[in-house]
C-alpha cells in the first residue's frame, strides 16, 4: 500500500517535470521567440518605415511583459518564495489573497515546521482552493491550519455544491500521495450542513 503510493509519488514527480517543461515551452519560450522576431523586424524597418517599427517594438514590449508574468506564475507553482522566507501563515494568506472566491484564513501554527511539512501543507491548501474555484461554485471558502499534539491539521472548507471526489480526480489523488509521503492522511468529506471539507493530518515529530 505504502510502496504503491511511493511509486505513484515518483510517477507524479515525473509528470510534474513534464508539465513544467511543456508550460515553459508553450509559454515563455514561444513568447520570447515572438519578441525576438518583432525586434528583428523592427530593426530592419527602423529607417524605411519608422511607424511600423514603432508598432513592432510596442508588440515586443507587451510580449516581454506577458512572458515575465507567465514565468512568475510557473515558478510560484513550483515553490513559492514567501513560504521559504516567512512560513505557512504568510504563504497561505497570499494564496487566499489570489483566490477568486473570498477566503477566510485562520492559522494557529507557532514557529516554523520542517520544510517538507510546510511545503506539503501549502500544496494541500493550494489544491483545495483550486478545487473550490473549479467545482464547487462556492461563495466563500475557509482555510484552517492548527498544530496540536504534534499533528498539523489542514482544512479547506467551502459552502459550495461539492463535486470533488478523491478517487476520480487525479489532482486529489496526487495530493493524497504527496501527503502520504510525509506519513500524513488526506480525507474529503461532506458535512451534515452541506459543506465540503478537505482535511489533511500530518504528524510533526519534534
Amino acid at each position: 500500500m505504502l510502496a504503491e503510493s511511493r511509486s505513484r509519488m515518483v510517477d507524479a514527480s515525473i509528470d510534474e517535470r513534464r508539465r513544467i517543461e511543456r508550460d515553459l515551452h508553450d509559454g515563455a519560450q514561444q513568447r520570447l521567440v515572438a519578441l525576438a522576431m518583432d525586434l528583428g523586424m523592427a530593426r530592419e524597418r527602423m529607417e524605411s518605415d519608422p511607424d511600423s517599427a514603432r508598432e513592432l517594438v510596442d508588440e515586443a514590449h507587451e510580449e516581454a511583459k506577458r512572458a515575465l508574468a507567465e514565468l512568475r506564475d510557473l515558478v510560484r507553482g513550483i515553490h513559492p518564495a514567501v513560504l521559504t522566507d516567512r512560513g505557512l501563515d504568510a504563504a497561505v494568506s497570499a494564496l487566499a489573497g489570489r483566490s477568486q472566491a473570498p477566503v477566510t484564513v485562520s492559522c494557529d501554527v507557532p514557529g516554523r515546521l520542517p520544510e517538507a511539512i510546510e511545503s506539503t501543507a501549502y500544496f494541500v491548501v493550494a489544491e483545495g482552493l483550486t478545487n473550490v474555484a473549479k467545482h464547487s461554485r462556492a461563495r466563500h471558502a475557509y482555510v484552517n491550519l492548527r498544530l496540536s499534539d504534534a499533528v498539523l491539521c489542514v482544512e479547506i472548507a467551502d459552502d459550495g455544491v461539492g463535486g470533488a471526489d478523491p478517487a476520480g480526480g487525479s489532482g486529489l489523488r496526487g495530493l493524497g500521495d504527496r501527503v502520504a509521503a510525509v506519513d500524513g492522511s488526506l480525507v474529503l468529506e461532506r458535512t451534515a450542513a452541506g459543506r465540503t471539507v478537505l482535511r489533511a493530518e500530518i504528524p510533526c515529530a519534534s
Binding site: L68, R72, V82, R86, S93, V103
Partner: protein, 214 residues
C-alpha cells in the same frame, strides 16, 4: 534627483543605471548586497533608493532587511523595493517602518519606464506606492460582516487606486470621470468604512492602507 541602486544582478543593475540616467536621475552609488546599500546610504544620503528584495548571501529577503536597516539609520529615507513576486506580508513589514516614502513594486513594472519613473518621484516626495497585485491581495482579505462588501464596483475601483497611492486627480483621469465625482466616491467610501475624512490625498491613502491592513 540622486539615487542609490541595490541590485545583485549586473545585467539588471546596468539596465537600471541607463534607464534612470536617461530619465534625468543621477545614480550616485550601486550596491550588490545589503551591507553595501546601508554603506552607500550612509555616505551619499540619496533622495531615493531602488532595492531588489533578493540579494546575497541567501537570496531571500536581504534587500528588504537592508532597506529597513537603512531607514532606521536615516529616518524617512525614501525606498522603492523591487521584487519578482509581491506579497502582502512584505508590504506590511515595509509600511511598518513608516508608510511615507516607501514603494513596493513588481520588478516587471520597470518595463513601463514612464510609470516607474513617476513612482520613484512620488516616493522621493514622501508618497506611498503599492503594486496593484499587492492591493488586490489586500482587498481580497475578508472579515465577518466586512464593510468592504457594501462598496459599489466603482467604489472598489477607487479604493484600489487609492491603496496604490494614487491622487484624486490621477484616479479621475484613469477612470475618465470628473474630480468632483472621485471626491464623492471617496466621501462615500470613508463613510461606509467609518474612516475620518481628510483633505490631503496622502493622508487618505494612509487611512485606506491602515484600514485594509488592520
Amino acid at each position: 534627483m540622486r539615487v542609490v541602486i541595490a541590485e545583485d544582478s549586473g545585467l539588471l543593475r546596468q539596465g537600471l543605471v541607463r534607464l534612470l540616467g536617461d530619465s534625468g536621475f543621477e545614480v550616485v552609488a550601486e550596491a550588490g548586497d545589503g551591507p553595501g546599500l546601508v554603506d552607500a546610504v550612509n555616505r551619499h544620503r540619496p533622495d531615493v533608493c531602488v532595492v531588489d528584495v533578493r540579494m546575497p548571501p541567501t537570496h531571500r529577503d536581504e534587500g528588504l532587511r537592508a532597506a529597513l536597516a537603512a531607514r532606521s539609520l536615516v529616518p524617512g529615507l525614501p525606498v522603492v523595493i523591487l521584487s519578482q513576486y509581491v506579497e502582502e506580508r512584505y508590504a506590511g513589514e515595509l509600511l511598518e517602518s513608516g508608510p511615507e516614502g516607501v514603494g513596493y513594486l513588481l520588478k516587471d513594472r520597470v518595463a513601463d519606464v514612464g510609470d516607474f519613473v513617476d513612482a520613484l518621484r512620488r516616493v522621493a516626495g514622501g508618497g506611498t506606492v503599492l503594486d496593484p497585485e499587492v492591493v488586490a491581495q489586500l482587498l481580497a482579505r475578508r472579515r465577518r460582516d466586512d464593510p468592504l462588501d457594501t462598496l459599489t464596483p466603482r467604489e472598489r475601483e477607487v479604493i484600489g487606486l487609492m491603496a496604490e497611492g494614487r491622487s484624486n486627480v490621477h484616479i479621475a483621469r484613469s477612470l475618465v470621470v470628473t474630480d468632483g465625482a472621485v471626491e464623492k466616491h471617496v466621501r462615500n467610501i470613508f463613510g461606509k468604512l467609518g474612516l475620518p475624512a481628510s483633505d490631503s490625498d496622502h493622508r487618505r491613502v494612509l487611512a485606506v492602507l491602515a484600514y485594509l491592513r488592520d
